[in-house]
């Protein structure tokens, strides 16, 4: 894969040994298989594949962290494009709310991409390590604390009002997204994290819509998935133009994530969530150490 010979600006160091001391593991097949696992894992946990793909590509497979982030963003877009039509067709994804939040999220994606291109890869590794620890801690809390779902307030005034049909019961659920300003601010932050670190931003979008804006969780997750494509597109353009986006890495990543996510979605009803969360915590801890080592090296 001699893409560096024709792709101007492609960073040196592609395929160096991983920071965990792993042997030099390169190759399309390996990236494809790793992305399948990451996509399946991310889908099972509802956090997307990026948070696993980026450290996997950089820590284990030895790719430059910016190249890993750029490839992950293409995977995020591909997964969103593959999943969104179903959610839009079913009427569960709230496109109008999504468009409103996307204005801030895409600006965040752009600034995140620009910030990442000006930051040293080691700083990005440090930030990603911190993100991994934060998500792992959140996963542990969700495993230990079972919070009763708080009832949604009755449809009132202001905000985005809409309804959807709950597929499990056939019941028409009416809701009203409120706190639009705070929601937009959080979406900007989610877009920024997405562009900066190559993750989907769902880890911020979903709780923002569900907890802060009082949107039903099913609408929040589907609307977030719909938003991811445009958010990631805003930042991936920056990576592409600056020469950080390697299509030959993005191709197996996107394919692997799509296949893995579909398998993960099918398995999600069979695999205990607590076991998955604990497994993620272990994997995240290992990758976080790898990222911190990359920062320190």
């Amino acid at each position: 894969m001699a893409i560096d010979r024709w792709y101007p600006g492609y960073p040196a160091g592609r395929g160096d040994a991983g920071t965990l001391g792993a042997p030099i593991l390169t190759g399309t097949l390996l990236v494809l298989l790793a992305s399948m696992v990451a996509g399946g894992f991310g889908s099972l946990l509802g956090i997307g594949g990026g948070i696993i793909i980026v450290p996997l590509l950089s820590v284990l497979l030895g790719h430059d962290v910016k190249v890993a982030i750029a490839a992950s963003l293409v995977g995020v877009i591909a997964m969103s494009l593959a999943a969104s039509p179903r959610y839009i067709d079913s009427g569960i994804a709230d496109r109008r709310l999504g468009l409103f939040l996307l204005i801030a999220a895409s600006v965040g994606g752009l600034t995140g991409g620009l910030t990442a291109s000006s930051l040293d890869g080691r700083i990005l590794a440090l930030l990603f390590g911190i993100l991994l620890v934060a998500v792992a801690v959140q996963m542990l809390r969700e495993t230990r604390v079972r919070r009763a779902a708080s009832p949604l307030p009755p449809a009132g005034r202001g905000g985005f009002a809409a309804s959807y049909v709950e597929p499990t019961s056939g019941e028409v659920i009416e809701y009203r997204a409120s706190r639009l300003g705070l929601g937009a601010a959080a979406s900007f932050a989610a877009g920024n994290v997405s562009g900066l670190l190559g993750v989907g931003g769902g880890v911020i979008n979903v709780p923002t819509m569900n907890v802060l804006m009082r949107v039903p969780i099913r609408v929040a997750t589907t609307t977030s998935t719909y938003m991811l494509a445009a958010t990631a597109a805003a930042s991936s353009v920056v990576y592409a133009v600056s020469g950080q986006l390697d299509p030959l890495i993005a191709a197996p990543v996107a394919l692997g994530v799509i296949v893995g996510a579909r398998v993960g979605a099918r398995l999600s009803m069979r695999v205990p969530q607590d076991v998955l969360r604990l497994a993620f915590v272990v994997v995240a801890a290992v990758f976080a150490v790898g990222m911190f080592v990359e920062f320190a090296s």
């Binding site: 097949l29 969104s84 709230d94 468009l99 009002a161 809409a162 049909v165 445009a230 920056v238 197996p252």
Partner: protein
């Protein structure tokens, strides 16, 4: 029965249960087509790469003619590039289609929101080129 947006009510004004439902067929078709084209290109790229057709002869900046000949020669990098372009541009095309769909039901606010996001994507490209 499908879900529907009934009002946006950005202020605290009265809710109008207008019941307008924007068509969504064109958007879903656009997104699906983009995903399929991207996945197909990536599949060709991965298979070609595994087969050793990795574009070792490609040097320097690639022009349109070089890209076409590389696609015909089943070069992995060319198909990966085509797939990447398809995937990255599809959200923008989808937003344009969405704007048309909301325009069909005269939902001006939704049209403006879709166009605003589209504008941000355009600015992203512009800023990236200038940076």
């Amino acid at each position: 029965v499908t879900g529907r947006a009934v009002d946006d009510g950005l202020d605290d004004g009265p809710v109008e249960q207008s019941g307008r439902v924007a068509p969504r067929r064109a958007t879903t078709l656009t997104l699906t087509a983009g995903a399929l084209v991207g996945a197909a290109c990536f599949t060709v790229a991965v298979v070609a790469d595994l087969a050793g057709l990795d574009g070792q002869d490609a040097t320097g900046t690639v022009d349109a003619a070089g890209l076409v000949s590389a696609l015909v020669a089943l070069r992995a990098w060319a198909w990966a590039l085509l797939g990447t372009v398809a995937i990255i541009t599809t959200p923008a095309v989808g937003l344009g289609v969405t704007a048309f769909e909301y325009n069909a039901i005269a939902d001006r606010r939704a049209v403006l929101m879709a166009l605003a996001v589209l504008a941000v994507l355009g600015i992203s490209l512009l800023v990236a080129l200038l940076a």
